[in-house]
Amino acid sequence: MSGRNVAMREPTYFVLASLIDGPLHGYAIIKRTGELSGGRVRLATGTLYTALDRLTAEGYVTQVGEEVVNGRTRRSYALTGTGTAALQAEAQRMAAAARVVMESAVSPPGARARRQRPREATA
């Protein structure tokens, strides 16, 4: 299941992105995800751990450390090589998708019309 062809969901993308700079624990992932997405992705704790379970099972994320804080276990998670590759592939896919719109937006409307006219003539 690791070689996914479908687009990543936004929370998954930002959870993986939050781990680019190094391992983080649950609370730090929630905070970092919020920052990176400009506050758009607000992960609930239950959602985060469901996502972490799934990403761990898919081999994108791994548990790297464990410490006890205030008598409770706190585990840290890190991106794996597969996770990094998947994140980069998704970023490239989104960049390519963005280019389609951005390039059309910067070219003058007349140029688009000229591009379309020969097709209409042949139709």
Partner: protein, 258 residues
């Protein structure tokens, strides 16, 4: 333990025990870290996420079970749903018959005996008591056939239970999921009853005329089939389940008695 922590712990019961023993502490730490200062109650969003997460964790546990165990769980879900729907039907009938109907009367008693046997067999299968499950199941089926209470759903339910009993080689997975079908099906059955217009039966007082226990009722001939026909004719919206176990897809329309 703070009230918030206590409430979070309660919500986390949605997760399977095995999962909780591995993750509960860590999750609880994160939950308390994300809580606002002075917060006493979990937010609706957080509660929903925990319950959904729990259901997902349970389905993941169930997804890893071998195929025969999955089949058994599916069969138990089907049986539980049927029991829930049937209980709702019986409740509706008792409500429609009204307070002047003494209970237990014959049909209800027979149906109740068969139902208790069915539930007993289900529980016996669940707890791997084949020596109890087989005779109880045979007894329930005999009673259903003898009293002419059997219908397609009951037969399918019984056959599933028989298969489960016969095929049993290992303990069923300890999941509460199939129990959850009973209240859900019960509510669905009641809703179905509402849309069938039973409330109209009560409001119009038709249940008084339909009650087989009113000796002065002009619609109650000695012949019980006649009574059924009168009941069916008195109000088209009368419930068709009677005291049988045939459930919502009954082929017969027995009225209150046979």
């Amino acid at each position: 333990m703070s009230p918030l922590e206590h409430r979070y712990r309660r919500l986390m019961r949605a997760y399977p025990k095995q999962y909780r023993s591995a993750r509960a502490d860590e999750m609880l730490g994160t939950l308390l870290d994300t809580a606002a200062p002075g917060q006493r109650h979990p937010t609706a969003r957080e509660s929903a996420a925990l319950i959904l997460g729990g259901i997902r964790a349970r389905s993941a546990t169930n997804a890893n079970m071998p195929a025969p165990a999955s089949f058994r769980l599916a069969a138990m879900l089907a049986c539980s749903t049927y029991v829930g729907i049937w209980t709702a039907m019986q409740t509706r009938q008792l409500i429609a018959v009204g307070p002047d109907a003494p209970w237990p009367h014959a049909t209800t008693t027979r149906a109740a005996i068969t139902w208790v046997a069915l539930v007993g067999a289900t529980i016996a299968v669940w707890f791997v008591r084949r020596e109890i499950a087989v005779p109880v199941l045979v007894g329930a089926l005999t009673a259903a056939l003898f009293w002419n209470l059997a219908g397609p759903p009951l037969t399918v339910c019984m056959l599933l239970l028989a298969l489960l009993t016969a095929a049993r080689t290992e303990q069923l997975p300890k999941a509460w999921l199939w129990w959850s079908c009973v209240p859900v099906a019960f509510i669905a059955g009641l809703r179905a009853g509402d849309s069938a217009g039973l409330h109209r039966v009560r409001r119009s007082g038709a249940w008084r005329r339909l009650s087989p226990h009113r000796q002065d009722s002009p619609y109650l001939p000695r012949d019980q089939r006649g009574g059924s026909a009168a009941a069916a004719g008195a109000d088209r919206t009368a419930p068709s389940q009677g005291g049988d176990l045939t459930g919502p897809v009954s082929r017969r329309r027995p009225g209150w008695r046979r």
